[in-house]
Symmetry: C2
Subunit: 185 residues, 2 copies
């Protein structure tokens, strides 16, 4: 797939935009948006958050989430991330929201579910885990705007339990003012 020759930018035949094309083997190296899969896990009214042990946003709190891998489903990926980032297992995961982050060419697919046995613990990717009531959420120490938006929606819609899937474009950078365009429900 990669033969080791230099790569040039050109528009392949039948295409309408520039791609990276190998000068040795004509392999076209497409670059497409990446999916991030994650979850909001609840246990007795509290939500699981993880304090990041890695950059970016080291030391800030996040929902378990990470890049989707090949040959898994979005749901499998969300469950895998819960385990990798918080040693957590989850039940009854369902899709909660789809967020577009066009600025960084990512799509977040966030699931909602129950934290099995209320158990989670820190590991290589996480300095600390915590279960938070709504009044305890560290809003000023959340790692990413998409985490803030997911939690905000969750608490706004908590009493409705309508299994709706939310969607929004998240345009703000971490640390900057929130800039979110919600799609009609």
């Amino acid at each position: 797939m990669l033969c080791g020759q230099p790569v040039v930018l050109q528009i392949p035949e039948g295409d309408n935009r520039q791609r990276k094309v190998c000068t040795g083997c004509d392999h076209i190296h497409y670059e497409n948006p990446k999916n991030v899969v994650g979850c909001l896990l609840e246990w007795r009214g509290k939500v699981l958050l993880c304090k990041r042990a890695i950059e970016p946003q080291l030391g800030y709190w996040t929902l378990p989430a990470g890049f989707m891998e090949n040959e898994e489903s979005t749901l499998e990926g969300a469950a895998r991330e819960a385990y990798e980032e918080a040693t957590a297992q989850c039940d009854d995961l369902r899709l909660f929201a789809v967020y577009n982050l066009p600025r960084i060419s990512q799509v977040y697919l966030m699931f909602y579910g129950r934290l099995r046995d209320g158990f989670a613990e820190a590991n290589e990717e996480t300095l600390e885990v915590g279960l938070f009531d709504e009044s305890e959420i560290p809003w000023d120490e959340l790692a990413f705007p998409v985490v803030t938006e997911t939690l905000t929606r969750f608490y706004e819609m908590r009493d409705q339990r309508d299994r709706r899937v939310y969607s929004a474009d998240i345009l703000s950078k971490p640390g900057a003012a929130m800039d979110v365009v919600r799609h009609p429900d």
Copy 2:
């Protein structure tokens, strides 16, 4: 990003699976699932389908859909594909379904909307466009299982108009018996 040196498979530090790593510059070439964005467009009770002018499944009917590009949202990508494949414009697009295709490491994000002015026409990617009543859908000539599942759900749920977002794992290959695991609504 690609310096032209050979690539080897190895597990990078802090990772837990093999990646393609450049022996020249240590660039890690991650491979992740790709998103396909598309839409089901309705006009006066009929649905827009396109007869494919390109492989795979040349000559079979499909909903407008294609790979999501960098720096666009899923919704923008779905609208772009409608234009690229059927010269069609759309109104009131909203997310209709998220389908996992782990066999081929793809995620489909399918939108529902109205076909503006009922206008569509064939182009480089499409041999023929058509507006079909439910009784006219060419079920045996649909290009992909994900198209069959999207149309099936659409007609099953048509009267409910509940703006639910559906989700399923699509495991079958084109032309084979349908193998679909629907997630709970």
